[in-house]
Symmetry: C3
Amino acid sequence: MGKIRIWAVIFLVIAIIIGIALVPQLNKYANPGAILPSENPFMYEKSIDIMVMLLIGFGFLMVFVKKYGYSSVTATFLLVALSLPLYMLMRPYLWGSAADLSITSISMLLFAEFAAASLLIAIGGPLGRVNTNQYLTIGLLFTPLYALNEWILLSGSVIPPGAFLDTAGSISIHAFGAYFALGMIIMLTTKKEREVKIEASKGSNQFMLLGSAALWIFWPSFCSALSPVDQIPLVATNTILALCGATLATYALSTLIRGKMEVCDIANASLAGGVAIGASVANVSPGWAMLIGTVAGAISVIGYNYIQPTLQKLTGGVDTCGVHNLHGMPGVFGGLVAMVFVAFPLWQLTGIAITVILAVTTGVVVGFVVSKLGRKQQPYDDGDEFFTSEVNEEPTK
Amino acid sequence: MGKIRIWAVIFLVIAIIIGIALVPQLNKYANPGAILPSENPFMYEKSIDIMVMLLIGFGFLMVFVKKYGYSSVTATFLLVALSLPLYMLMRPYLWGSAADLSITSISMLLFAEFAAASLLIAIGGPLGRVNTNQYLTIGLLFTPLYALNEWILLSGSVIPPGAFLDTAGSISIHAFGAYFALGMIIMLTTKKEREVKIEASKGSNQFMLLGSAALWIFWPSFCSALSPVDQIPLVATNTILALCGATLATYALSTLIRGKMEVCDIANASLAGGVAIGASVANVSPGWAMLIGTVAGAISVIGYNYIQPTLQKLTGGVDTCGVHNLHGMPGVFGGLVAMVFVAFPLWQLTGIAITVILAVTTGVVVGFVVSKLGRKQQPYDDGDEFFTSEVNEEPTK
Amino acid sequence: MGKIRIWAVIFLVIAIIIGIALVPQLNKYANPGAILPSENPFMYEKSIDIMVMLLIGFGFLMVFVKKYGYSSVTATFLLVALSLPLYMLMRPYLWGSAADLSITSISMLLFAEFAAASLLIAIGGPLGRVNTNQYLTIGLLFTPLYALNEWILLSGSVIPPGAFLDTAGSISIHAFGAYFALGMIIMLTTKKEREVKIEASKGSNQFMLLGSAALWIFWPSFCSALSPVDQIPLVATNTILALCGATLATYALSTLIRGKMEVCDIANASLAGGVAIGASVANVSPGWAMLIGTVAGAISVIGYNYIQPTLQKLTGGVDTCGVHNLHGMPGVFGGLVAMVFVAFPLWQLTGIAITVILAVTTGVVVGFVVSKLGRKQQPYDDGDEFFTSEVNEEPTK
């Protein structure tokens, strides 16, 4: 039995263990049918909207790597399938009485989806250079670390309640995932891989645009997922205007800098408005939201064009999807903007610093561990792990 | 006027007849504006979510057949367009006072969508070997047979009320469609067709993954469509955890059995958790849901790898989409699991047996009738019925 | 700095100006958190559903042009990003106290989305023959003209309240956009462009079918967006049955006329039922809705086959997406049907006439202005404005 099969058995066993471990959970924490005072029945559809963002949005945004489409979508499926139950299992132990969420509350599902989103952001960094079992190992290690950071920022046990503003996770979700990626890729890029060109095709880029559209569309549900009903219109409008600003800025900056548009800029940087508005989405007015989004879009395009190449030279790590440009810098920018709205801006700054440091550090460690589990034979290629004979047939037709 | 045009006229006339027949329906049964005691206003969005499953989910899951993408999606559109109004027209006559649903209630729409889902499952069997008019003829004959089986299982007139548990249609929707397909394909596979390889391409498989993602995402709405509001969190969590279990099991089993992943396994078997949890989704706890899903995913992969080839040799029928592996066996498994939760398990078993027998038998008859309406000239090829010149251009570009 | 860069700067400045102009808006008009008496909290999800129609529906329906997929989707992103905030900015000034919508009400968002939908319909006419900055210029000029026509029809200041029935915009959204396109293309088609064949490919058509499915699925949310909760089931059922009728009629007519199906007919004309039912969707019964849809589907296929070539010869304008067949004639047909339900049918007729005349006239003027801003070097080709090296790589792989 080869290594690939042994890992398959290991993760099958892990799935069963999580299932069994969850069985008594219901009796302990659940109060099925009860809706928390903070909940409303409109949250259900938002949990579905966010699932679109996870599986179609993040999943297909990563399909741009030409020969790696099966792996990108499959890794997305698997990481969602692993991290949702894992988060649900661990959260009650970690948060304790700070937030006694039932496993069958929609709030629990939403928090688990946020963890999955952050994880999918993180794997965008080493995408194409690790095997399926390595993605799953990253998922296993990332989920508790994400939950730890979330607990530090939001539980009120470390940072005082209300001193840190991050309504829709600019810091806790986006920046954490992106800086975790930055840490990992230092350990997960070989010299040879640094020289491989990551190829796209017309078809793979078209799927990327589809993923991007899915994220754009459902972002208001991401931002308003936990909002009380009467705040939804403000949050939705702000999110949409931030995305509008970022989209227009992306067209302008991509054209200005490069002389032509780069379709990857369009698909990615247009979303930076959603990332950046996350922290203060319930506190700003729509005009400001549009301006924040415009700046975020500009930052993101500048990131793709100037900062990413520099950073790659500096650290040696290849950031396949450019998650630092889309989720890293715009996330931090959004967190900094929110300093205006908090009573003690220093706590806001502290939260951002903790997140970035914790993410990079643990990312390096996890990257190191995962790098010991083997190397992908052909980077950015489905062929190692999938039957792809049909692919080779195509040109002869 | 060729045969193809005559059929076009026939189905245009049928569309008009259904429209006219529906006109008085409103006066007779409708009470517009009234929401039934069993309904809630959240059901509307679920009816839309299920439409995503029908047109994008089932539709694009079937696009994997390389040269048959136009036909797969068009057949999906047409069968939905035929079966929704047909079911709405017939249901009041069939169920009578047992469920006096208004044609303008969302419940009626949801039940009609379930019928369409089962029909789309059924045509996944002979997919690519019949013409458009034959798909539509199958739709015409299938819809009343589906409604009959549904009435036997759920109306309380045959099986006592409460003695049969099938909350989200593991048996009535999935198993019925799949075993109907199994019956049909015995009659709808020629010797020549048995030898034709069903070809996929990178592009067609990528669309299949998109269809799969759409089904995964919206499955909780399928399962909770008829749930009272306070039960939605439990049902949604259970559905998602069942899908998580199946997805992880699919990766593990596909790798274990084949040594590499098969992208068709990933796209299909990952969904088996949703199929199997359907019957007991409102009765189990999340841990159990994950375990049921894990088993269902494993059953499905085993089906694709071992049972489908055997069954094909035995019956001579080619199951193009492998609906027996995704909807047949996991559906029956889910129905059997639900025996634990019913007062008289024998009634549950009886309902399953009736469904399988009725489906296979009527499937054979319908397959026979449809086989008499002609043969597709080129199996698995759009060219018979669509203008496809642009397809041939591609390689020269 | 080339022309392309100057335009980029201009639109960046416009984005910033709109953002700044919106800042005081909130203080002036907003009453955040207040839900208007005409609103309900279910409207939020519909605003998201309509975003799917805009970005994935209209966006990918236009991807059928083989080498123009990046531009089609990018233009969609940009026009949505421009028209939403622009409409929100202008509406309070235009409508005045007639509808004092807060910028943070979901109603405002929905009305802005309707404007964006009409704009996307309009650019379907000259699609592929203008540059990105020209699309954006069209957006700048179209949005106030659309809002003016909407105000004439629906504000009650010109046509008496209740004398014009157009619940879901057959006239105000669909016909206006389509006839505006008709006006524009007279000015935006060169002699050379009239002779260029608009090429599709299997892949691009498959994405078109995806866009079509997205529109089909979410159309009930478009039609019921502003409906009171108890009217939603009727409106949803009517919309769906109208689409069912159109889909069946499209198959029949396309086959009858051409002898085989044309995949563009299927993707487009199937939606004509949704266009036509818009005006009277809250007033007819489901049977009638299906019949109206059937007629609309037939009209649309006839349009694609006979009327479009004639019109093109007559006016010299190329209607790339055939928006006159999908949105123009079915829209007017829907508006005429609604004459049955209004107290003074002449007012209904007047509203239709005003819309068509205003749209064509202003379309010609805007087309003329835009034609002065330059010409696309390669019609129907991404290469002018996007880096597309990866596209050329494909055949060698």
